[in-house]
C-alpha cells in the first residue's frame, strides 16, 4: 500500500493566504474529495501537491518521497481544460503518452482503449477544435490517464459535462477506484463528491473546516433527516410535532429531526390518524447540508 501524505501545505499570494496549513493523507486506494466553494484553495492545494506551485511551507510526499514526475506515476486533469485545437486527437494523445515515457505503440494502444471506454473513438482522426466541449474534456481525461497512473488528481472533473457524460464519467471514476487507484478529486458539487468519496477534506478560505472518513463524519451527525411519503396530507401532523420541513415536492417531504424520538413520534401520530406511510426513511444529513451547517457555524 502506498501513502499520499500532505503535511502543513501553506501558500500566500501577497497578503492573501490562499492555503493555510492543510494536512491530509490517502493511505489506501479510493477517492478523497477535496471540497469547498470557489476560491476555497482547492486548485492551489493541488498545484502545490504536483509541484506546479511552490509551497511556502509544508510538504507533499508519496511513500515518503517528494512528489515529482519521477517519484510517482500521476495523472492530472487540470481545472483549466487545455488541448491542442488544431492537432488530431490521436496525435496529441500519443504525444502526451510519449511525454510520460511510453513508447509510440503503447501510447497509441492505450489511447484507443480509453477512447473506446469513453465512447469517443469516432473522433480519433479529427482535430480537437471540431469536438464539443464535453468530448474535449473526455480527451483531456484520456490524456491524463493514458499512462495508467497510480495517483490520479482530478480538478473539478464534472464541470461543464451534460448528464449523459456525467454518468459516463461517474462510472469511469468508480472503475478507477475499484482498480486500486488513489484518487484526489476536487469539486464544489457536494452530491458528486458524496457519491464517490471515502474520505473528505472540506476547505473554506484556505483553511480545513472538516476532514475525515465521510461515513464517520455523517455518523457523527446522527439521524437528522426524516423523509416521508404518504397518500394523505401529513402537514398538520408535522406542524403539531414542530418538525421543520426542509424540502417538499409532489411526492414527499423531508423534515429536520433532532433524533430517532422525533421520527417515532411522527410514525405513531400517522398511525393514530390512519395515515399509511408509502416511504418512511430516517437518514444522516447530506454532505451539502453538512457543508452549509459548517459554513453557518463559521458565520
Amino acid at each position: 500500500m502506498s501513502v499520499l501524505k500532505i503535511e502543513g501545505l501553506t501558500k500566500s499570494f501577497g497578503e492573501k493566504v490562499a492555503v493555510d496549513s492543510i494536512s491530509f493523507q490517502i493511505d489506501s486506494p479510493g477517492v478523497l474529495g477535496l471540497i469547498g466553494t470557489n476560491g476555497a484553495g482547492k486548485t492551489t492545494t493541488i498545484r502545490m501537491i504536483l509541484g506546479i506551485l511552490e509551497s511556502d511551507e509544508g510538504s507533499a510526499t508519496w511513500d515518503g518521497f517528494k512528489i515529482t514526475r519521477e517519484s510517482v506515476r500521476f495523472g492530472y486533469l487540470p481545472e483549466e481544460r487545455g488541448i491542442y485545437p488544431k492537432t488530431r486527437v490521436i496525435d496529441q494523445l500519443v504525444y502526451f503518452g510519449e511525454l510520460r515515457g511510453m513508447t509510440h505503440s503503447a501510447a497509441k494502444a492505450s489511447a484507443m482503449r480509453l477512447m473506446e471506454r469513453l465512447d469517443v473513438t469516432e473522433y480519433v482522426n479529427m482535430t480537437a477544435d471540431k469536438l464539443s466541449k464535453g468530448n474535449q474534456q473526455k480527451i483531456q481525461l484520456i490524456a491524463a490517464m493514458i499512462h495508467d497512473p497510480e495517483l490520479i488528481i482530478l480538478d473539478e472533473p464534472f464541470s461543464g459535462l451534460d448528464p449523459v457524460n456525467t454518468e459516463m464519467l461517474r462510472e469511469f471514476i468508480t472503475e478507477l477506484a475499484a482498480n486500486n487507484k488513489y484518487i484526489l478529486m476536487s469539486s464544489h458539487q457536494m452530491a458528486t463528491v458524496e457519491e464517490f468519496s471515502r474520505d473528505l477534506v472540506m476547505l473554506h478560505n484556505g483553511k480545513t473546516i472538516l476532514q475525515g472518513n465521510l461515513k464517520k463524519i455523517k455518523a457523527g451527525y446522527g439521524h437528522t433527516n426524516l423523509v416521508v411519503r404518504a397518500d394523505q396530507d401529513i402537514r398538520t401532523i408535522s406542524e403539531e410535532l414542530g418538525l421543520k420541513c426542509i424540502r417538499t415536492d409532489a411526492q414527499e417531504s423531508e423534515y429536520k429531526i433532532s433524533g430517532d424520538e422525533d421520527a417515532k413520534a411522527m410514525l405513531m401520530r400517522m398511525t393514530e390518524r390512519g395515515v399509511v406511510p408509502v416511504r418512511f426513511e430516517i437518514r444522516e444529513p447530506s454532505l451539502h447540508e453538512i457543508f452549509l451547517e459548517r459554513m453557518g457555524s463559521l458565520k
Partner: protein, 413 residues
C-alpha cells in the same frame, strides 16, 4: 533527452502540416525557380533589343546621305542586327518610312549624314521602348570612318589597324573577397535574418498559443519545462533548416539546369571556391546557435502573454534586437568589413550569427577568433535558454498580469 526528442518530433510534424508552412514553401520555390530563369529572360530581352532572335520580322532602313563617307557601314549594320532586314533607304521615301515606324515598333530608320564637324547619325524608332541604342551603333561604325580618313591621308594599313587595337586588360583580387563570396555572404545574412524572424515568430506563437489554450499546465506536469522549450526550439529550427535545404537544393538544380554556363555576375563568373568544408561547418553552427539564441528569446516573449493579440507587443523588444543585429551585420558586410564595429560585432553574441558567416567567406580571419566567437554565442544561448525556461515555468499560471524579471525568483524546472 527522450522528452526533448518527443517534443521535437511533435513540433516538427505539427508545423510541417500547417498551411502557412506549405504556402511559404510553395512561394519560396516559385521565387527560386523564377530567379533561375532570370539569366535566360535577360538574354532574350537583350537579343530582342538588337533585332536578333525575335520571332517577328524587323526592318532597319539605312539612309546614307554622306556620299559613302563611311565605306562598309551597311555591312557592319547587317552583322550587328543579324536577325533583322537592313534595307538601303532613299530620301524620297522618308515620309513612308516614318509612317511605318509610327505604326509599328519593328521598323527603324538610321540616317547617316555629313556635317561640318564630321559624320552624324540619327536613329528614328517608334518610342524609347524599342531598346535600340544609337550610341552602340556609333561605336561600331566610328572605327570604319577613322580608318577611312587615315587611309585617305596615306597611312599604311598596318598603322591603321594598330591605331584601332585595344590594350588587353584583366582584374586580379588579392584579398579573400570575390563577387561570389560577397553574394553568398549577403545571401546567408538575409537567410539568417529570415530564419530568425520567421521561425522565431513561430516559436513565440507556439508558446503563446499553448498558454492561451491552457495546454501548458498539462505539459509541465508531463515533463520538465526546459525539455518542452528546447524540444520546441529545436523542432522549429529543424523545420527551418529543412525548408531552407529544400530551397537550396531547388536553387542548385535550377542553377545547373537553367543558368547558362557562361553566366556572370557583375562581369565575373560565379564560383564557390571560398566555401570550404570548415567554413560550411561554421556557417551551419552559427545558423543553429544564432537561431536558437533568438528562438529562446522569442519563447520567453511568447510566455509573457496570455492573449494572442498581445503577442506582437511582447515580441517587440526581441524583434528590435534581431533587426538591429541584422543591420549591424549588413552594414559591416557592405561598408566596413575590417573596422572596429566589425571586430566587436564578430564576438558579440547577438550580431556574430550575422557577421561571422559573411567574414568566413570574404576575409582573412583566424579560426581561433571564430571559435572564441562561437563559444561566446553557445554560452549565451545556454544562459538565455535557462532564463527562458524559468519564464516559461513561472508564466504557466500567470493570466492577466505581465510577468516581470523579479517574478523569476524561485522558478523551477
Amino acid at each position: 533527452m527522450k522528452s526533448i526528442l518527443t517534443v521535437f518530433k511533435f513540433t516538427f510534424k505539427e508545423a510541417l502540416r500547417k498551411k502557412a508552412f506549405i504556402i511559404t514553401t510553395i512561394i519560396g520555390l516559385a521565387l527560386i525557380i523564377g530567379a533561375a530563369f532570370i539569366p535566360i529572360i535577360e538574354r532574350q530581352i537583350k537579343n530582342a533589343d538588337l533585332f536578333g532572335d525575335s520571332e517577328e520580322s524587323k526592318t532597319l532602313y539605312f539612309l546614307d546621305k554622306s556620299d559613302g563617307a563611311i565605306p562598309g557601314a551597311k555591312d557592319v549594320l547587317v552583322e550587328m542586327f543579324s536577325g533583322a532586314s537592313v534595307e538601303t533607304a532613299t530620301e524620297d521615301q522618308i515620309s513612308e518610312y516614318e509612317e511605318n515606324i509610327k505604326k509599328d515598333s519593328n521598323y527603324a530608320l538610321l540616317v547617316l549624314e555629313m556635317t561640318d564637324s564630321g559624320p552624324h547619325m540619327v536613329l528614328m524608332t517608334k518610342s524609347f521602348m524599342s531598346g535600340l541604342d544609337v550610341n552602340s551603333i556609333s561605336q561600331a561604325i566610328s572605327p570604319l570612318y577613322i580608318s577611312s580618313v587615315m587611309k585617305e591621308q596615306g597611312i599604311s594599313d598596318e598603322m591603321v589597324a594598330f591605331s584601332q587595337s585595344m590594350i588587353s586588360s584583366e582584374m586580379k583580387y588579392l584579398g579573400n573577397m570575390d563577387v561570389s563570396g560577397y553574394a553568398v555572404g549577403i545571401a546567408i545574412l538575409m537567410v539568417m535574418f529570415f530564419a530568425i524572424y520567421y521561425y522565431g515568430y513561430s516559436v513565440a506563437l507556439s508558446v503563446a498559443s499553448e498558454k492561451a489554450s491552457r495546454v501548458m499546465e498539462t505539459l509541465i506536469v508531463s515533463t520538465k519545462p526546459s525539455n518542452v522549450l528546447i524540444g520546441k526550439c529545436l523542432g522549429t529550427g529543424a523545420l527551418g533548416l529543412t525548408q531552407l535545404s529544400v530551397f537550396l537544393i531547388t536553387g542548385a538544380i535550377g542553377y545547373e539546369v537553367l543558368v547558362p554556363d557562361d553566366f556572370t555576375l557583375m562581369g565575373m563568373p560565379l564560383s564557390l571556391s571560398s566555401f570550404t568544408f570548415a567554413s560550411a561547418v561554421f556557417v551551419l553552427l552559427y545558423f543553429i546557435f544564432g537561431f536558437s539564441l533568438f528562438a529562446f528569446l522569442n519563447a520567453a516573449a511568447g510566455a509573457l502573454v496570455d492573449k494572442m493579440e498581445d503577442l506582437g507587443a511582447a515580441m517587440m523588444p526581441v524583434t528590435i534586437m534581431s533587426m538591429a543585429s541584422f543591420y549591424v551585420g549588413y552594414f559591416v558586410a557592405v561598408m566596413d568589413p575590417g573596422g572596429i564595429i566589425g571586430e566587436i560585432a564578430f564576438f558579440a553574441p547577438l550580431t556574430s550569427p550575422f557577421i561571422v558567416p559573411f567574414k568566413l567567406l570574404n576575409s582573412d580571419f583566424s579560426y581561433t577568433d571564430a571559435i572564441i566567437s562561437l563559444a561566446v554565442l553557445v554560452i549565451t544561448t545556454v544562459i538565455v535558454a535557462k532564463v527562458s525556461a524559468g519564464f516559461y515555468t513561472k508564466s504557466v499560471l500567470r493570466y492577466g498580469k505581465r510577468l516581470k524579471f523579479k517574478d523569476l525568483k524561485g522558478a523551477k524546472d
